[in-house]
Symmetry: C2
């Protein structure tokens, strides 16, 4: 708390639901605009020609306090009239979009078509919703995660939503990543922050694309701030989503130690759950400090508690 | 009724609400697919990049039995979550679109972008909604009504919706009309029908664009079927919309006789309201037979009654 009062700035790297929850925790601690959230855009896709940015929207809706509290994504209380109408007219309806959510996609698509950047649109939407923290897409250029599976190459949402993550992931590629440049503000956010926090998001397909954007990995490696990751693996399982199976089929150990090995050289501290306390020594042997705590975020107080513990760890790290 | 049983085919020229009501009347009389409705598309426009076809949608929703019975356009019971979300994000919200209605525009826009024609999409939507009659856009090429006013040139929806038809219309142009060709089926529908019915729609901006498409006026002039128009002016007033004021500022007489003069040479019969019975002689002097009846359509029975009277008049005309 004293740190927050002293002007600490935090920059997060975030995917969807897990990143959004932790971002909300920091937002409750830090006065605006000392929190900046760099968000994965490699899940972005087009449906009915509409530009959908799942992770950006999840972070935005969560920070605006309008996210669906049960599923984590989408807008609380949203209805499904538009999607039902599309289905009635013979259109595909496998990706569940609410009516208010459609409004986001319609306006974003329209503004992109007029030549505005994703980062400008994202900032405007956040401002319109009264959000103080800065939400930064990792890049304004289109990047698309492609997954190699026994059934062939799949688009991310095909794998994630339509096929319910049932395929073994044997390889991952980020189409367009060579042309992607960090969105305006991203490199500054990494260079200037007192603490850089990698959210408990999927290391492969949520944090992975962010680190793959030209310049971001280097900026993280050379950042002056303390770099802290929160392990998304607890007791050998992913808290949400297919990260555990994906790590396994890609040859990683499905554990906080496995996560530590992926981030080795990029982080100073790994926060692991109490359930994984026995891995602390092996992680420390990689030159990464560990913080062992309850990493499972329930409601807003829980998110704030974890964010506060991360700030305490970062501060301790800066003084060591 | 005997005519309907004998295989009578009817082709309508229609704008929005008035055309849709009369089309519903014919649809109740004629087994499918003996009714074809050629619909004005010069009101079509883009909003948020979405392709909106107000008259096609009004005819479609009405024939599907899902039109809003109070306002005539839009879908009964439709909600407005999407538009509210767009407004909350800073988007414009002057054109009232319901959530289900957005589904129509999203899917149409997507299919147009994939290279499908408006006529194919319109036919598929009608089929998906269980509509038997054929709904034909006047053309698959984009046409846009522009209105000259004391305030300058206005787009149709800007005049019609945003400015609530408050401007004097001093001139009308249909941008793109030179490149417009009749949509597939339109000329056949005019050549083959036993009766061609011009709906009580605005003669200037609803029927006018249809007649301005290359070949349609000639097809109407040389049609073998009986040609019947229903006057949209009753007692010197338009039943709906700005047709009366528009006729006046464009130098036409605001009466059924004025309508008869506009359609002279293209119709055999003009159906006028009882209120205008005193104009019958002057109209007949133009070589146009008159039918005097109650032309005001309330509910479905009323629409069927008027359609039936039109069929009776057409049949009498064909035998004369």
């Amino acid at each position: 708390m004293s740190l927050a009062q002293a002007g600490t700035t935090v920059t997060m790297l975030a995917g969807g639901v897990g990143g959004a929850k932790l971002a909300e925790g920091f937002a409750r601690l830090l006065p605006d605009p000392r929190l900046r959230v760099i968000v994965n855009t490699a899940d972005d896709f087009r449906l009915y020609g509409l530009a959908i940015s799942p992770d950006i929207d999840t972070v935005t809706y969560t920070l605006a306090g309008i996210a669906n509290p049960v599923q984590g994504w989408g807008i609380a209380g949203d209805t499904r009239q538009t999607l039902d109408a599309i289905a009635r007219l013979g259109g595909e309806s496998w990706f569940l979009l609410g009516d208010q959510d459609f409004g986001t996609h319609i306006l974003r698509t329209h503004r992109l078509a007029q030549g505005e950047s994703l980062s400008t649109i994202t900032a405007d939407f956040a401002s319109a919703l009264g959000i103080g923290p800065h939400i930064l897409p990792m890049t304004d250029q289109p990047v698309a995660t492609l997954l190699e599976t026994p059934e062939g190459r799949l688009d991310f949402q095909d794998y994630f939503v339509a096929r319910r993550q049932s395929d073994d992931v044997l390889g991952v590629a980020f189409a367009g990543i060579e042309e992607a440049r960090p969105a305006p503000g991203v490199l500054d956010a990494l260079a200037e922050a007192d603490a850089i926090v990698i959210a408990p998001s999927n290391p492969i397909v949520s944090v992975g694309p962010i680190l793959a954007v030209d310049g971001i990995r280097d900026a993280l490696a050379s950042a002056k701030g303390v770099r802290i990751a929160v392990s998304p693996i607890v007791g050998g399982k992913a808290l949400k989503g297919p990260a555990d199976r994906m790590l396994a089929t890609l040859g990683h150990e499905v554990s906080s130690l496995g996560v530590a090995r992926i981030y080795a050289g990029l982080i100073d501290i790994l926060v692991i759950d109490n359930a994984d306390a026995d891995q602390a020594a092996a992680i420390e042997a990689l030159g990464i400090r560990t913080v062992v705590t309850n990493t499972i975020m329930g409601g807003p107080e829980d998110r704030e508690r974890l964010a506060s513990e991360l700030l305490d760890a970062a501060f301790a790290g800066a003084r060591s």
